[in-house]
Amino acid sequence: MASHTFLSLLLFYLYSFHLLRPIYCSFGSNGFETTSVPKEEEFSEELLLKPLPDYKVLAHFHFTSTSPPSSSNGKHHHLFPKSIAQLVKKYKIRELELSFTQGRWNYDRWGASDPLSTANGKPPGVELWALFDIPTKEEIDATWRNLTHSLSGLFCASINFLESSTSYSAPLWGFLPNNGDLRYGALPREAVCTENLTPWLKLLPCRDKAGIASLLDRPSIYRGHYHSQRLKLRSDGLNGIVIEQTLSVVLQPIDRTSWSMHQLFKKSLTGKCALAKSSKVFLEIEGTLVSQNENILELVGEADMVTNDQRDHSTIYQYNVERYSEHEALDIRVNWKKLLQVSFLQAPLHASRFLMGSGNERGSIAISLQSARNSTKGLYDNSKNCFTRVVIFQVVPWYVKVYYHTLRIYVDGAIRDAKDVVEKINVAPSEDKVSPGTLEMMLQFPCGMMSAALTLDFDKGFLHIDEYPPDANQGFDIPSALVSFPDFISRRIYPDSISSPLLQSYKGRNIVKSYTEVLLVPLTTPDFSMPYNVITFTCTVLALYFGSMVNVLRRRVSEEERLAKSKDKRKPGLIPLLISKISNKVRGIKEDSANQSQSSQPILGPKVVFKVVLIALIAVLGHYIFNSS
């Protein structure tokens, strides 16, 4: 309880401080276009709910913090997270995006070419990229290494594995056009959990104690089918630092036909974060649903504003959180009157990637692109000179040795010459234990194409024993490839009456892109449980080999014969003498003839065998008698 009161006191203090400060920024002009440079640190929180065609619900939390370029208070910040500001300042970051994702974005069902899904679809695991404001390549690499360690500490994740030069790459234009100051790395196997969410929430001024973030009930959000938590920051001299913290979850309502916010999150929204400039909840209904809106959907709860975007792709219902309090919590409820199968806007081509071949020696990576023409008929022009451009960006770890010359491209079931299709290509082959292979490729396909496939052959490499991870037998991951379509822009323009950083980000020229699946390559793994056997076995073989080799090379047979002859004249050693005496006695052979007839006379005569068997029998019998008595 004490901590609670303390916190509220602190909040109150901060809030009053916020109110006392003179307000320079003009609130009247609600435009993105004006981009009046805020002189003050600002924070806004938004939540966008969107029913998906398969009766799931997408909840997209969006928190924006801005810090003006030159803070009047020196190094101190009021709302803006200090750790991030220090990070930006120290590593001279121009742009950075870090995402933690669990599950796969279903491009077929949840949409692929609207801005929300273009932004939401992230590869499983951790993805980090950053643009630096540093001139030389060496310095950028060093900074990147430091950055990964800082972020690793900040977000309780093993981002520091991206430090090694084998795990990050520097794409030039396949991911984002840049001047060689971009670094990109992905960790597909990184598990995402609350320990990553907590530090992320700490960057918010109200954490999850008040406002929209208070909806983040851990069991509810981690039960979702898709979970992607991101941090995106931009910094320049004009706007200062802007961080966008987003969290997208796809939830499955218990009752498919009707859901409410309270049912989804098991918490109710009772008010805004006192420090937020704006706090809004949106409900977006996709155009394909809204055309029959009246029949299918029923909304409970009165919206503050209802608008459509310019092309009527979707309808937005806006709810201002300020109006709600503990006595009257905001609870949007959606009832489906009729169950209906609809699909969202598809990407022009559906990309999927898979492995071909089997065995531990070699294989191929195939990327298959299939036209989704049925759904986006309007985008196509079937004339002969129409081409669709596709950019493929793929990073492959070094132990998967891709032979880039084996690139084969099939268009509509016929093999095509690469130079007819490839417009631009940039290949950075992998170097063993130094750098991964990077492939950036811009392809041109005729618009009427139905399907295309690319294959690349690879050999599977061998790792050193200490390079294997603890679960080596699972196989090794090839991170997701990024397939983007530069000719297709996903943007939605909403009327200026809505002022929202979230919706404003929709206005930008976002290229339609989709990530492919992560691949699992089984490599040869040594049997870790028997290193001892392996060592002894190899040592024995080597010893035998070297022993006999050295023996053969070193020996001088004639010398030895002479030596042996001279030795024969001398007395043999004590033990051989004894043995020979005993054996001679046993066999009853005279000493002189024994030496000559050693080869012809078997040592194990029938008598000896008989005696040995007799003694053994006596021993067994004795044992038997003693035991039984």
């Binding site: 398969d54 669990q102 599950g103 796969r104 279903n106 499983p124 695991g125 039960r223 979702g224 089918h225 898709y226 979970h227 999927s352 898979f354 492995l355 071909m356 071949g357 089997s358 065995g359 531990n360 195939a366 298959s368 299939q370 099939y410 509509d412 079931g413 016929a414 093999i415 139905m450 399907s451 496939a453 294959t455 679960d471 080596a472 037998n473 699972q474 196989g475 991951d477 699946e517 992560v518 691949l519 699992l520 390559v521 089984p522 053969v552 020996r555 047979v557 014969e561 042996a564 030795k567 024969d568 050693q598 080869s599 078997p602 040592i603 194990l604 044992h623 038997y624 035991n627 039984s628």
Partner: protein, 674 residues
């Protein structure tokens, strides 16, 4: 100084006054070669017979599997849904309106209701052609010719794991036959689909899935194996050239972690009354490959300890009734009892009935591995390094009764649910437990370290005998074996010709198998005669029979050792035939002092000359295992066709190792002994 020369000299001096211990030991062994070989062979035989006693109980080696740690949640609701599907399939089958089109559609419709991604996979019957060069590679990637042939349609549904990353998948296969949809086992066939559907509907709502689930309702009109192998081939080696529509719809779900094939078989007349439902496990894949033992253990554990289903594996019923085996069992029991009374710690006593059953099961296990032919559709998975097993479920009561059918589906479904859940728990692929083993009971196995001993005993005397024969020859030139290399070379060239002949014979279409057989035999004989005309008689002046035997033994031991790496079981059975042939070979005209021994050896030789011929050897083997009534020598062509149809290395062994050995044996037998 030439190394070879030095070595030869060293060898010569080996038995001289002072030589190294290892050389002296070798010399000792060589000088007692007869004793050593007799002892080793007997030891090998005894070790083989003792194998059922040495079998250990299976245990689950991979801790991550956690079988049975979660309670099964498959409920009557799922099973009733599945029952609706079964009723629908049965009604389509009764209507006889193109069931081969309607049933896949119906299954796909049911899958889509569950929210699965579905597609139909079309495949045609592969040409059963002999590809001598494709023996060890995977099946050749030939473009499908669907145009003029009839084709089957498998229905495939994929459930994406809600929070999974889609890197791995578990494959469920349920074969059904649309051609025979209205036939006798129609209800059983439909029940396999129903069983798969009940599990699939449960998994489509499961939140704990980490791996995607693929359900292949495979059309088994060309056999269970064909459809699965065609689908797997398209999964791993898609063909992008040509009609792209089939590759367009084909969906994948990552690397396969495991394949579970299950089918319901209703036995019309049971031999004996069953008090429980029975599941029969089939695990042998091509060329004696086995799935990881852990997979079998999980199924066995869940079936026996959770669902109360009896588990069976293949067993030769004939051996259980055989008197010889029973007597052996009694002897083993007495020996075990005696050993135990000597020392209470020696606990290898086994009741004779258990021994008999263990032997029958072991024989079946060795035989199925030695044949190199998969025992079910799971074999197709093993070709892509995926562990898979076939479960054949047979219910206690008739499936025509709806009530018993529901109960049976619930039980079988829970077994499969548990198995899927265990595999789903796996972080790594199967690697902890054994891959090389024989089974002597569903829960007992003989591991590689134990079953290698009999083979090692059988093969060990071969080099010793070869060395002693080499020493006994009158010629003292160290390169004297080169003369005998010529007949050896001729024999092996001939065997290669014999191997390849069927390829050309099978090109001539529509020959009855007896004609093919005769053509093959005639062609081989002709090839042999031509080879002798070209290269001259094998009995030249320098070819001593001892040297010929030594060379034959050397080549055979190399062949056996190579085969033991490729398919151990084949080498094991082959050694039983070949090793006596190698040891006993003696020319008819050779003069010896002891006429009694000579006549005995000669009788043995003549018997072996007949039995060692691959045709009779195969017939004998099949006779021992399946009963002599069914065996005919003329079926040899068919059984060989069967072997190469499955790319079995056993065929190569028979023709490239066994046949030359037999021919050389004959050469020795009829050696002039000048």
């Amino acid at each position: 100084m030439e190394v070879a020369e030095v070595e030869a000299e060293v060898e010569k001096k080996a038995t001289a006054t002072r030589s190294r211990l290892i050389v002296r030991l070798a010399a000792l062994l060589v000088s007692h070669s007869t004793l050593v070989s007799v002892v080793c062979c007997l030891a090998g035989l005894i070790a083989l017979l003792v194998l059922p006693l040495l079998a250990k109980n299976t245990y689950i080696s991979e801790n991550a599997l956690l079988p049975g740690s979660a309670n099964p949640v498959l409920s009557y609701q799922h099973v009733t849904q599945a029952n609706n599907l079964i009723m629908d399939i049965m009604s389509i089958a009764d209507d006889k309106q193109a069931p081969d089109i309607e049933i896949p559609k119906l299954i796909a419709k049911y899958m889509e209701i569950l929210g699965a991604e579905t597609y139909h996979h079309k495949f045609s019957q592969p040409q059963n052609q002999f590809h001598p060069l494709y023996f060890f590679s995977s099946s050749p990637n030939s473009p499908p010719t669907l145009a003029n042939l009839s084709y089957g349609t498998s229905t495939v549904g994929i459930i994406r794991a809600p929070r999974g990353d889609g890197k791995e998948a578990i494959v469920l296969v349920s074969p059904y036959n649309t051609q025979n949809a209205g036939g006798i086992d129609a209800s059983a066939s439909a029940s396999s689909i129903g069983l798969a559907f009940s599990v699939f509907s449960l998994l489509s709502r499961a939140t704990w899935l980490a791996k995607d689930i693929i359900w292949v309702a495979s059309d088994s009109r060309f056999g269970d194996h064909t459809s699965v192998s065609a689908w797997l081939n398209d999964y791993h080696n898609p063909n992008f050239i040509g009609d792209a529509s089939s590759t367009r719809i084909f969906k994948r779900a990552g690397t396969m972690a495991c394949g579970i094939v299950f089918k319901v078989v209703e036995k019309e007349r049971r031999e004996k009354y069953e008090d429980r439902d029975v599941v029969t496990l089939y695990a042998e894949a091509s060329n004696g490959q086995m799935p990881n033992l852990d997979l079998l253990n999980v199924v066995h554990y869940l079936a026996v300890h959770r669902q109360g289903i009896r588990v069976r594996i293949g067993m030769f019923g004939g051996l259980v009734k055989s008197h010889l085996v029973r007597v052996l069992g009694e002897v083993m029991q007495q020996v075990g009892r005696f050993a135990r009374s000597l020392n209470p710690d020696w606990r290898f006593e086994m009741p004779s009935s258990e021994y008999v059953e263990g032997t029958a099961t072991l024989a079946s296990s060795i035989y199925s591995q030695a044949l190199g032919v998969p025992t079910g559709p799971h074999g197709a998975f093993r070709d892509y390094q995926v562990d898979a097993v076939t479960l054949e479920l047979s219910p206690r009561f008739s499936l025509k009764n709806e009530h018993t059918r529901l109960a049976f589906l619930l039980k079988g479904g829970r077994l499969i649910e548990g198995t899927v859940r265990s595999v789903n728990n796996l972080l790594e692929k199967f690697h902890q437990s054994f891959f090389l083993y024989f089974l002597t009971a569903p829960n007992k196995f003989v591991s590689v370290g134990v079953y290698m001993i009999p083979f090692a005993f059988l093969v060990a005397p071969l080099p010793i005998i070869a060395a002693s024969l080499f020493n006994l020859t009158s010629n003292r030139n160290p390169w004297r074996w080169l003369h005998t290399a010529k007949p050896l070379l001729i024999t092996h060239t001939w065997s290669v010709v014999v191997t390849l002949l069927p390829f050309y014979i099978s090109k001539i279409s529509d020959l009855p198998s007896t004609h093919c057989m005769l053509t093959w035999a005639g062609g081989s004989l002709m090839a042999l005669v031509i080879l002798y005309i070209v290269f001259g008689s094998p009995y030249s002046k320098h070819v001593e029979w001892r040297l010929l035997k030594a060379v034959m033994i050397a080549s055979v031991s190399i062949g056996l050792c190579l085969m033991s790496i490729i398919n151990f079981a084949t080498a094991q059975i082959g050694a039983l035939f070949v090793v006596p042939m190698c040891l006993f070979a003696l020319p008819i005209r050779v003069k010896t002092n002891n006429s009694l021994i000579r006549s005995m050896v000669m009788t043995c030789n003549l018997v072996m000359a007949v039995l060692g011929f691959p045709v009779t050897a195969v017939a004998l083997m099949q006779g021992v295992i399946k009963g002599f009534g069914t065996v005919s020598i003329l079926e040899f062509w068919d059984s060989m066709k069967f072997l190469w149809g499955w790319n079995s290395a056993t065929y190569l062994y028979l023709v490239l190792v066994h046949l030359p050995c037999w021919l050389l044996f004959l050469h020795i037998l009829f050696h002039p002994c000048r």
